[in-house]
């Protein structure tokens, strides 16, 4: 279980990095290496060149703005999990991160690496879907920003071009006091989710849903936002009936199957987990808050 031969590059600036990306073929970028290194050791991936993002400065930060939080692509998962800013303004991200691997892997794994790997069950991919992420990609030609929908194309596939790298991601902020719930089912703690559901919610003065976002991941090849239900449930009371409607919508997502997990069980879990995430978000939502 040794990787095939490759040439290692350690640029120190983004300019060097984009220069390398612009001139080399058959490149993989390594950040935390928690997915890429095993894939290389299994020889599932055999890049000719490996470019290390860890030596490039200025890519690890959390920047809180009025409408969004911008996170540098090299920011470690463990750093995010311990960030006071994240805990205060985006508490669901911390909750989701507790399901990402284990403390040791989080100490290396980065948000950018997780997003670019684009595993359909990855918690941070779910967070990007939930928070209407905007991703900034950089090449020798400069920056371009794209929406999460444009970024994720399918199973382990993104629209990042061979001459680009992911520089940062912006996650949209929700008002203080919003309700949130992250629920996941994995075989063991830290495993890839068979199903993970996140839910954000604000309530109006009456206690009815004012704004809702629900992202279901692990069920299909990319995370699914229950967009239609999010709109339809606006103005309804977040009760058991609402939860059941939402759960039914999650269960209707066309589910993957593999040698271990059937599509039936995935759909079953999607219903159960969605209801739980929604219920938890409801319990936490402050009724005085208006979006």
């Amino acid at each position: 279980m040794k990787p095939s031969p490759f040439t290692y590059h350690a640029p120190t600036t983004t300019a060097e990095l984009t220069e390398l990306l612009g001139t080399l073929d058959d490149v993989r970028i390594i950040a935390g290496g928690q997915s890429l290194m095993p894939m290389m050791n299994f020889r599932f991936v055999q890049p000719g060149h490996l470019i290390d993002l860890n030596t490039v400065g200025g890519l690890a930060y959390v920047d809180v703005q009025r409408d969004f939080i911008e996170i540098g692509a090299s920011t470690r998962q463990r750093f995010l999990q311990r960030s006071q800013d994240i805990a205060k303004h985006m508490p669901i991200v911390g909750e989701a991160l507790s399901h990402v691997g284990h403390r040791q892997t989080r100490a290396r794994g980065t948000i950018g690496g997780s997003l670019c790997h684009f595993d359909p069950s990855a918690e941070l991919v779910n967070m990007a879907a939930l928070h209407d992420a905007v991703l900034t990609l950089t090449s020798v030609d400069g920056d371009r920003s794209i929406s999460f929908g444009e970024f994720g194309l399918g199973f382990l596939t993104t629209s990042v071009q061979p001459n680009e790298f992911l520089r940062s991601v912006r996650l949209a902020r929700w008002p203080e006091g919003h309700g949130y719930g992250f629920e996941e089912f994995a075989m063991r703690h830290g495993d890839f989710a068979i199903c993970a559901v996140s839910c954000l919610m604000t309530l109006d003065d009456r206690g009815a849903i004012d704004r809702l976002a629900v992202a279901v991941s692990g069920v299909s090849e990319t995370p699914v936002r229950l967009t239609e239900m999010e709109g339809r449930l606006r103005g309804t009371m977040p009760d058991a009936g609402t939860a059941t409607d939402l759960a039914a919508a999650a269960g209707d997502i066309e589910a993957m199957s593999d040698a271990y997990i059937t599509s039936d069980y995935r759909s079953h879990l999607a219903r159960v987990i969605t209801r739980r995430a929604f219920t938890k978000a409801t319990e936490r939502a402050d009724q005085r808050v208006r979006a």
Binding site: S4, R43, F185, M187, H189, D191, A259, T262, Y265, V272
Partner: protein, 780 residues
């Protein structure tokens, strides 16, 4: 004066090295000029080898050699691997060549060995060896292999059956025809492999000048590995040495001789360089022996009081592609079913089927967990049908202590009748039930159910043959510096032999265990050995350590008595000296006595005296010693997701006299963890062409720390009369009854939903399916 060590929870002598990174495993050994090997393995479960083209690989920079069957030494081309345990009923034994000759019979079977300057290049070159395979029909399931017209798992075989063997006692027909109740179950069980932290590995160093072959190998017994080398290579005894350094887990499969070891030796002979091969984790999943599937069709006959009249049925066992251990594994299963219960009539037919998968050989528990699962599920069925408490059904059927020794009536795999030597089975269960407050559980369950929570309790009782022969030797020697050393063929993989054997020896000399060094895992240390497996070392090596230590201590007393001019009985051994009892303070040190015992150059020894303070004992047990245990689990099942949480796990365990309670606790807890994996997580998945799909720890799920409950252990101590120490084995007792205890608890929790369980392991997905099936039944 030094306190007696036997029975004390003394900290393990091994741990300071392990905990400070000073353990020394095969991969830590670096020899000058060493080359590295990787294997070309079959990608198909069954195929004919049409041709192998290694020219491109051989031409690569850094590649030293590529060896296929055709380049092996002549003896390896002539001889297949030896059969460890031949028995009459094994009518269709199958053993591989060191490298596949013309046929591969499972995915992962070794076809060629590539030797290179480093492992990276070796793996690059493996990809360049072109093997032209013609696919053949595949036996991917042991039941399918029995069907009319099934493909044959080996070319030219008349049948896929390795062995058919009945185990019979009593009048089974009468038992069933007269029975008030007969209940039938079809039970499927899957056990995975061992998956030790340290994968297998070997370094062969063939010295072309001396013609000595030194092999370092991660094993459970160096002498049996040596014996296999002898059978395969024509090497003089004096020129062959096998060494096993520290081992990071064995659990059974490291007890086997594997094709890779001979291939690495052949590679060293061919290249004139030491050659290292370290198994990587993917190889570990496709090339190390495992356990796997057993299908049991069984029925139980009971009278109106739930007393067992008979048990009968068939076990269909997936043997895998080769039979290195014959039918040892399923035979143990069949002989273990009766457990702690009086079963007047028993008739179980074993059918062992050769499939196109990795060979199966014993993994911790060695077929016993499956047997216990069968018996305990049958008793649950009896309890349910007769409306009785499951604990009470067991009580009515226990063998009582006053019935010991108890002849079960069947023959064990050691060829001897299964005769339980000792044990108090009713008490063992009572202790566990009391600890978990079993009486009050029904109330707890009712209260939980009213909150929509499904909790359940489950019992597993097991009797385990431990301490199997034929022997294990120990040499105790006192050096002329006064140090006491014990040499043994027992080869530890984490069991703390260096502590427990030292405890036994130390007591004979009145010293602390720090004064006794235990040397293991080297064929140059002691002439013969069998190895550490089957929970046999405490009984065999422990008894030998006792006998050899006793003999040396006796000689020490005799020589000291002679020099101090007293009777041997007047001498006491304490704190490293032989002292005259009483206030006189006259003594000789062990060092003085060791020097004296060797004599002076030119002078004759005293008449009748033999040189040195040394003795070797090979204790041979007359039969197995039978340990027993009760596992009781309390679980909660999330009926929406199928997740099982183990709330409590109590283990009442009797391994005879306990040498070191802390060490036994460690063995039991580790064993329970293994049981949790087998009950809820571990599954080796293949596709319908026997292609293994679970080849990493993301797909093959071992329990993590958070999945294993705290284990509450209660030691019982019923001394075995079969050995001088009264000990029994402890290495597997944690695993054996735990799997069924957990599954029984899940079944108990889901009883209100009408769920019936006859399988292990249970995944959350499967639990949801079972709940859905029960709902469908109740609607229909």
């Amino acid at each position: 004066m030094q306190m007696r060590s036997f029975g004390q929870s003394i900290k393990r002598k091994e741990d300071p090295a392990f905990l400070t990174g000073k353990g020394r495993y095969v991969d830590d050994i670096e020899l000058p000029n060493m080359a590295h090997a990787a294997f070309v393995r079959s990608p198909l479960a069954h195929a004919k080898i049409k041709s192998i083209d290694a020219s491109a690989a051989r031409a690569m920079d850094g590649v030293i050699a590529v060896i296929t069957y055709h380049e092996l030494p002549e003896t390896l081309r002539q001889r297949r691997l030896p059969l460890v345990v031949p028995v009459e009923s094994l009518t269709n034994p199958r053993l591989p060549y060191t490298l596949a000759r013309d046929e591969v019979c499972y995915v992962g079977e070794a076809i060629a060995i590539v030797v290179a300057e480093n492992r990276y290049i070796a793996e690059d070159a493996v990809a360049q060896v072109m093997v032209d395979l013609e696919p053949l029909g595949v036996v991917a399931d042991c039941r399918a292999g029995l069907l009319e017209g099934a493909p044959r798992s080996h070319l030219g075989a008349d049948s896929n059956i390795a062995a058919t063997m009945p185990s019979v006692t009593g009048d089974i027909d009468a038992a069933f025809s007269n029975a008030r109740h007969v209940f039938k179950e079809s039970i499927f069980q899957h056990r995975g492999g061992a998956f030790f932290m340290e994968c297998r590995g070997a370094i062969a160093h063939y010295d072309q000048f001396s013609e000595n072959l030194l092999v370092y190998v991660s094993s459970q017994g160096v002498h049996r590995i040596k014996r296999s080398f002898h059978e395969l290579f024509d090497i003089q005894d004096s020129k062959l040495r096998i060494v096993t350094p520290d081992v990071g887990g064995g659990f059974g499969p490291k007890g086997s001789y594997y094709v890779e070891y001979g291939a690495v030796a052949a590679a060293s002979m061919a290249t004139g360089r030491p050659v290292k091969w370290i198994e990587d984790r993917r190889e570990n999943f496709v090339a190390t022996h495992q356990e796997r599937d057993q299908y049991w069709d069984v029925e139980i006959a009971v009278d109106e009081n739930a007393k067992i009249l008979g048990v009968r049925g068939t076990l269909t066992h997936d043997n895998g592609a080769y039979t290195p251990w014959g039918i040892v594994l399923p035979w143990i299963s069949v002989a273990t079913v009766p457990g702690p219960y009086v079963i007047p009539a028993y008739d179980m037919t074993l059918i062992s089927v050769i499939t196109n998968k990795v060979p199966t050989t014993p993994v911790r528990g060695a077929g016993r967990p499956q047997a216990v699962f069968v018996m305990e599920r049958l008793l649950e069925r009896v309890a349910k049908e007769l409306g009785l408490d499951p604990a009470e059904v067991r009580r009515r059927n226990f063998i009582k202590p006053e019935q010991m020794p108890y002849d079960v009536g069947v023959i064990f795999r050691d060829g001897r009748p299964v005769v339980y030597d000792s044990g108090d089975y009713p008490k063992c269960q009572e202790v566990a039930l009391e600890a978990i407050n079993y009486e009050a559980f029904a109330e707890r369950q009712k209260a939980a159910l009213s909150e929509g929570r499904y909790i359940g309790i489950g019992i597993g009782n097991a009797v385990e043959a431990t301490g199997l022969g034929p022997y294990e030797g120990v040499t105790v020697r006192i050096g002329t510096n006064g140090n006491i050393t014990a040499y043994t063929g027992a080869t530890p993989q984490g069991q703390a032999h260096k502590t427990t054997l030292a405890q036994i020896v130390a007591d004979h000399f009145g010293v602390s265990i720090d004064a006794v060094t235990v040397e293991t895992g080297d064929t140059s240390n002691i002439s013969f050995g069998i190895g550490t497996f089957a929970s046999r070392t405490a009984v065999n090596a422990g008894s030998s350590a006792h006998l050899a230590g006793q003999a040396v201590a006796t000689k020490v007393r005799e020589i000291a008595a002679q020099l101090l001019e007293v009777e041997p009985d007047d001498i006491e051994l304490t704190d490293g000296v032989a002292r005259v009892k009483g206030p006189s303070n006259r003594f000789k040190t062990l060092r003085e006595l060791a020097v004296y015992s060797l004599g002076k150059p030119g002078f004759s020894l005293a008449p009748g005296m033999t040189p040195g303070l040394e003795n070797t004992a090979y204790f041979t047990p007359t039969q197995s010693s039978y340990a027993n245990g009760t596992s009781v689990a309390e679980v909660e099942v999330d009926v929406e997701t199928g997740r099982v949480h183990i709330n409590r796990l109590v283990m009442s365990h009797d391994c005879g006299r306990v040498i070191n309670p802390m060490v036994v606790d460690g063995q039991v807890v580790g064993g329970v963890a293994h049981g949790v994996g087998n009950a809820l997580f571990e599954r080796m998945v293949h596709d319908d062409q026997a292609q293994p799909l679970s080849t990493n720890f993301g797909e093959y799920m071992l329990p993590l720390a958070a999945d294993v409950p705290r284990v509450e252990i209660h030691h019982q101590e019923t001394a075995s009369p079969n050995n001088p120490l009264g000990v029994k084995g402890a290495g597997e007792g944690g695993t054996i009854p735990t799997i069924v205890a957990i599954v029984n608890a899940v079944a108990n929790a889901l009883a209100p939903l009408g769920v019936h369980i006859a399988e292990a392991p249970l995944s959350p997905q499967r639990i949801i399916q079972l709940i859905d099936e029960a709902k469908a039944r109740s609607v229909a």
